[in-house]
């Protein structure tokens, strides 16, 4: 294990779990349920074509594209700060505020993503007719499932060391795919407009 001392995972804390059980089972299960529930909701309810969003943009797509872009930029902060905390950036000692930066950039990225996902699910629903939209719909459900799994895993002390990096990496990869299939597509199709 090459975990740095900032990781809480190595602290010996037997906890209520028996050593043989898999402590990541419950977070993964709940995350999976969340992903499935979002997908089913997006598929089954009738899209309203309308949802409340942030004012000040030319339309819902522009609003979502910019919010998603902000969230994606913060996700890059997430990736870099996580790599720093785990000592994976050569020659860089994690400053003491790295953990706080990681937590707050993550919270902000998540909160910024919620209005976007809300508009997607509530107003448009999950759609599978175009490859881009299909990928976006599936990744969107997957992202929130992984995110829930990671949030539920964080407080647990007896997880294998790879749990958080794997969950965080999956979340980052999913968000990258979401950004490419939405904001990047919007900016290249309609131009970089607000």
């Amino acid at each position: 294990m090459s975990l740095s001392q900032t990781s809480p995972l190595q602290r010996p804390d037997p906890g209520p779990q028996a050593p043989g059980s898999a402590p990541y089972l419950v977070p993964l299960l709940v995350g999976g349920l969340v992903a499935v529930a979002l997908g089913v909701y997006g598929r089954e309810h009738t899209p309203t074509g309308y949802a409340v969003g942030l004012a000040g943009f030319s339309g819902a797509q522009a609003m979502k594209s910019w919010l998603a872009t902000a969230s994606f930029v913060l996700a890059i902060v997430q990736l870099v700060s996580a790599l720093t905390m785990y000592g994976r950036i050569p020659g860089l000692q994690a400053p003491s505020w790295t953990g706080a930066l990681h937590r707050w950039s993550g919270r902000l990225a998540f909160v910024l993503s919620v209005p976007v996902a809300f508009h997607c699910l509530y107003a448009l629903g999950a759609q599978f007719d175009v490859p881009r939209v299909l990928v976006h719909s599936l990744l969107g459900s997957f992202f929130y499932g992984v995110f829930v799994a990671k949030m539920l895993s964080l407080p647990k002390r007896n997880l294998p060391g790879w749990t958080l990096p794997v969950l965080g990496g999956l979340a980052f990869a999913a968000l990258t795919g979401l950004w490419l299939t939405s904001s990047f597509w919007f900016f290249t199709t309609f131009g970089v407009t607000f």
Binding site: G49, Q61, G106, P115, D129, R132, L152, L154
Partner: protein, 236 residues
């Protein structure tokens, strides 16, 4: 202790999503319920009627008619037509797009699959409309946030379902005179970015330039300005 913080993060997301849901349900331009909501859908003036608003706007629409969750044609026929609504969707089995726009009792529909197009007109005096065009007919039922119906253009017949859409999605029309020929362009843009369009140049079809909502385009050196229904519908 930072143990519960991730749960607070999740909770904040859930609360935010629920808030957006309630706000959307209350401010949605459910123009089907125009008698109750008035003409300013953006103002959340209808809040007091349903303080514990259900996030399902379909239930709200039903609330002023029957309480039945399954809308029946009879119940919808009693509803007035929306004063202002735009629908766009796909013609099943054809892949062409259908758009319907309603402004103050007047309705215009447009069908286009990139080769064949048809403009149809009619009055919007109830929640079921009949629109006619040259060798074309549309019957459509409005409600539940969408327009559903049948479309007949020439020999082709299709069903379609068109959800409510908002700018920059929806219907666009441009007309101009290019070297003495009357040019009419029609475009439909779906929320997923898909679009279709066709130009009618003096009676024959020509491929339409790709539409960027809000921007003019040039056709054979003449500028075309595709307009939204607000601009072109009263003049049709």
């Amino acid at each position: 202790m930072k143990r519960p913080w991730p749960l607070y993060t999740l909770g904040a997301g859930v609360v935010l999503a629920l808030g957006l849901g309630v706000a959307s349900a209350q401010t949605a331009p459910r123009t089907d319920a125009v008698s109750a909501a008035g003409k300013a859908p953006a103002a959340s003036s209808t809040a007091k009627s349903t303080p514990s608003a259900t996030p399902d706007p379909a239930v709200q629409v039903q609330a002023d008619g029957s309480a039945s969750p399954a809308p029946t044609i009879e119940a919808e026929e009693a509803d007035p037509a929306p004063k202002r609504a735009d629908y766009a969707g796909v013609a099943q089995g054809n892949g062409g797009l259908v758009a319907l726009s309603i402004r103050n009792g007047k309705a215009v529909a447009y069908f286009c699959d990139g080769r064949v197009e048809s403009w149809l007109k009619g009055t919007a005096d109830g929640s079921t409309l009949t629109l006619t065009g040259k060798d074309a007919l549309i019957t459509v039922a409005l409600g539940d946030g969408k327009a559903q119906g049948r479309l007949q253009v020439g020999k082709g017949k299709w069903r379609f379902t068109a959800p409510l859409v908002h700018k920059p999605s929806g219907l666009y029309r441009a007309s101009a005179v290019v070297r003495g020929a009357r040019v009419v362009g029609g475009w439909i843009v779906l929320p997923n970015g898909r679009q279709v369009g066709l130009l009618d140049v003096g009676g024959s079809s020509a491929p339409a330039p790709r539409l960027t909502p809000g921007s003019p385009m040039t056709f054979e050196g003449t500028e075309l300005r595709p307009q939204e229904p607000d601009a072109f519908l009263p003049g049709l």
